[in-house]
Symmetry: D2
Subunit: 325 residues, 4 copies
């Protein structure tokens, strides 16, 4: 926002009134006339409320660049589950779907713990071209059947536009991974399926870029977007990425949007998953998505960050407890 | 750690065993002999437990660079208050001490809300040389007397070695600001007073650098260090800094150290303080430090991020509730 | 690398010998036996040369994860132009191809200045779904014909796998944009065309991830990869991104790979393009790619960073001069 | 800047005119009235020139926060050497002054290569409290005498306010290290000596914060500030820090200030120093500061990044050649 003062205004008094509402401002001048530019890191306020301050001549606002995201409700129904309603949603499962037996076993365990979404990769995008790329199409079928057998929904990632028609019917929530957050061809293909999308934040995406990627999805047909924070790139290697719970609070509490937190990818450290899952819900997250595996030591990918099922059970209880008022 | 395998070992089996314990490894080879380097973002494990894995010949460890920090207990007594005990500690007060009347009024309010540390700046370091630098020595006296009148402890920042002898007797906890985390002359002068130190993390400090700064304090005489996370520098301007609750969980849950979170400086946004304060405690923080002001619009510094007293009361209740199991 | 010492070695002497070769090391111990882990930011040395140091028992190396990139020659022939030979290569043109007349006019001007590659977008990926997305297929034809008329090569970006067969025959160098550096479906489709690829670095990609993306291309059929540094994300808004010429020097001088620098996207500032283009070549870049426009004020996209043709002429002269020894 | 349009203006036309001058803008509206906020990453233009654009009613500017830095000339005389004049200045020497003999030997060699400033630490600030902290006062004397014997100036770092009076008479240029860029007590003490200051950029300091730290020095008595870029913190460990030559070009070419580049600390890699030193001068740097040592393997600190004298000789020749038009 830009606040333009009247010629007679006392700029220091107006500045105090703006600070009193939580606004950080920069002062600019044209002739003797003062204008305050409101910085992006300010608390959100209604422009109308500023027009009442003595000495304020006009308040200019920036039209939103993501009107559909702004209009999306904070609670999204996916496969009979309310995401964002206050009751934490648990999404869990292995990094990749490794066998029919494995995913059935996992699904049964998870359903008993209050999990409502089964996650698992059929197609994996990997940093190295020589790494395991997933079992592909058969894995999709195993995942869907395992979920159905245990009364769970499915969330799984799609990697290329041409595979969208294959994957979409098998999942309740189409996941777009962080490497593809700005892959517009993929966003458009996924959105055209008219199913809700789980949109992971890119590793170096600003909040505004993330919301604009969500707008892309809504413009091209997706009925709803659930945002997923999974850690951003930073300078410390003690955790693999940096979990940005400030972004979660901002989306959930200020923008009123449903956000899932993925602490597995955010930290890569099994020993931090429980406290950070609780913290995510306290910050406003609609739920968490956690990698779990019956035997992390035999996982075909990312076993180092997967939580064994018994440890996951403890996490699940803590998250559900955190959600109750 | 470096894990050296026996000549007969099956490297893939050892790698799985390591991943099964939450370790990320890089494989290196000398001749046919395999060594795994354990990456920093791994879960913490005991080296001894790895020596029992079949195929492991030796496990080399890096000697700690901060033995005194490692040996410090997780609960620190400061002015009769246990920091790190599980009961959240509330530190609050204005950015700067503005007048004797103001600080007395604030102290009285805060004491009634369960606050045990009164914060307030007497000497302020500012980015611009033209900004308000604090009321100096008189403000220190006002702060101490206000705290005493309400049965509170004092925490306040020191900016230069030569003012340490003046400030130390007036405070229960000597604060080192983030700009000075690696100012060794100041750390040494503060530590020589033999009082506990509140050590704010530098804006771009790694966890290891932060712990080493703590070691500096302990080596030079400080009886204890309380760490304070206040946001690090990142690429998004939606919040002023980026609150790193992964670091808080790591220090609190893995290193067993007392950590206070300052959401005011971490985000600069009044509308995010409550959810992030709750999240901090859920992540393992020993408490929070929050800027509050009876009338943020008249604050001499940083009013935009200060919480009005009534909103602070709500935050205090939420934080204390979050701490109860 | 991991350097294991003999039981009788004097660790301090070995450490000095390693430092003397430009290596940063971390010391680890198993029993009394010392191992040094060589940190990634060290100068590159040959492992064999370390085995001769007194007290060194073994030197373990990490097998490269990108053997094909390592084997690629430093000079790549594209459309009759040697990229990486020492003579700076100029790639220039408008952000997007706006009309047949425009691109013909620009091509003629550029050819006279020593430019050998005409750049221009037919398909544009944009942060907002409401921004101009390019003129599409007709623009590709205009671009190719304009280049041919002036004896130039073409470099242009592809955004989705299904458009690769359309675009590939029209370009000499297939550009993968920074948002798609880890879009494996796109890398594979582009590589399958068996044409050289210009691989832009992702905004938060490490050097290793960038090289691995290059490996992806070579594994799937690309005959050569030319790397393109275009600025990474950082915390200062004085420039739009942060140009990482250290990465350029590392790829060019240590890895022996051809690297092009795009100062237009790296800084977004027209007033910095000339000095940074010169600096790029001095750091080892094989050339630069610069946005230029006959009338930046009428550009359909990114006019703010486009250099007017007359200013580009000055830049071209400076870059070509910088390249001569 | 904020550009306010007239009621009759055609906003799209004004936006194009602004983009045509290299400005990135955000559009805001109050009622039907349009205002453009000019973003920080824009090319620098004169506000007056914008007032002539048809449809522009007013152009508001932000008063500078560092008037003295803005007024400082681009060429600074230090000990008879013009810094910023176009002829590259070479500052070189060991990380720490290790002995009287060493520094005399080094000084003699360097003087013969065109070096005009001898660098060397007497007091070292170190991340670990257990690392070598420098030889202190005697080292200062050795440094001064060695420089005098070879006709060199001295540049050396001061770490605490109380040592400023001891150090200042022994040096021609008082160095403030990156860890202390915002240590206002130290800046004030150093500035009070009325000698030129070499101000290293903090590891996560924005350009504006760096300039404000320079303002601090000038306000408190320093006759001149020479800025020194030494790498900022980023996410890749291939180099120790990230050399920001965009910042160098910005300070040198847009702000007209003298900037020295320290590639040794910026990259930590001996194998990148030569190309990056040349690039620094090409980007506009007034010179470079490089760590060199007769025998890096025996250095008491940072030997891994020190260049042996013979390699430094090659670098010196390349830098001096880069400077000639």
């Amino acid at each position: 926002m830009i606040v333009t003062l009247t010629a007679e205004a006392e700029p220091a008094a107006v500045r105090r009134a703006l600070a009193g509402r939580g606004l950080w401002v920069r002062r600019l001048e044209a002739g003797g006339r003062v204008q305050f530019y409101v910085e992006p890191g300010s608390a959100r306020v209604d422009a109308e409320s500023l027009r009442g301050i003595a000495g304020v001549a006009a308040v200019a606002e920036e039209p939103t660049r993501h009107p559909r995201v702004d209009a999306q409700p904070g609670v999204v129904e996916v496969g009979g589950v309310s995401v964002g309603s206050g009751a934490p949603v648990l999404m869990a499962g292995p990094c990749s779907v490794e066998s029919e037996a494995q995913i059935h076993e996992v699904a049964g365990h998870l359903a008993a713990l209050g999990v409502t979404f089964l996650r698992g990769g059929a197609f994996k995008t990997r940093t190295s071209p020589y790494s395991f790329q997933g079992h592909g199409e058969p894995a999709l079928t195993w995942l869907r059947e395992a979920a159905d057998a245990s009364g769970l929904n499915v969330v799984t990632e799609v990697l290329s536009p041409e595979r969208v028609p294959l994957l979409a019917p098998m999942t309740d929530l189409i996941q777009i991974g962080s490497r593809n957050m700005q892959n517009s061809a993929l966003l458009e293909a996924a959105a055209a399926e008219e199913k809700p999308i789980l949109l992971k934040r890119g590793m170096a995406a600003t909040i505004e870029e993330w919301l604009l990627a969500g707008e892309h999805c809504l413009v091209h047909g997706a009925p709803a977007v659930v945002f997923c924070e999974r850690g951003i790139r930073s300078f410390d290697s003690s955790t693999r990425n940096l979990l940005d719970l400030g972004a979660v609070a901002l989306l959930a509490r200020v923008h009123g949007l449903p956000v899932i937190v993925d602490p597995s990818h955010a930290t890569g450290r099994r020993d931090l998953l429980l406290p950070l899952s609780r913290a995510a819900v306290a910050a406003g997250a609609a739920g968490v998505m956690v990698e779990t595996h019956p035997d992390p030591g035999s996982a075909l990918s990312d076993g180092s960050q997967a939580l064994p099922l018994e440890a996951f059970a403890e996490l699940a209880r803590a998250v559900l407890a955190e959600g109750s008022p």
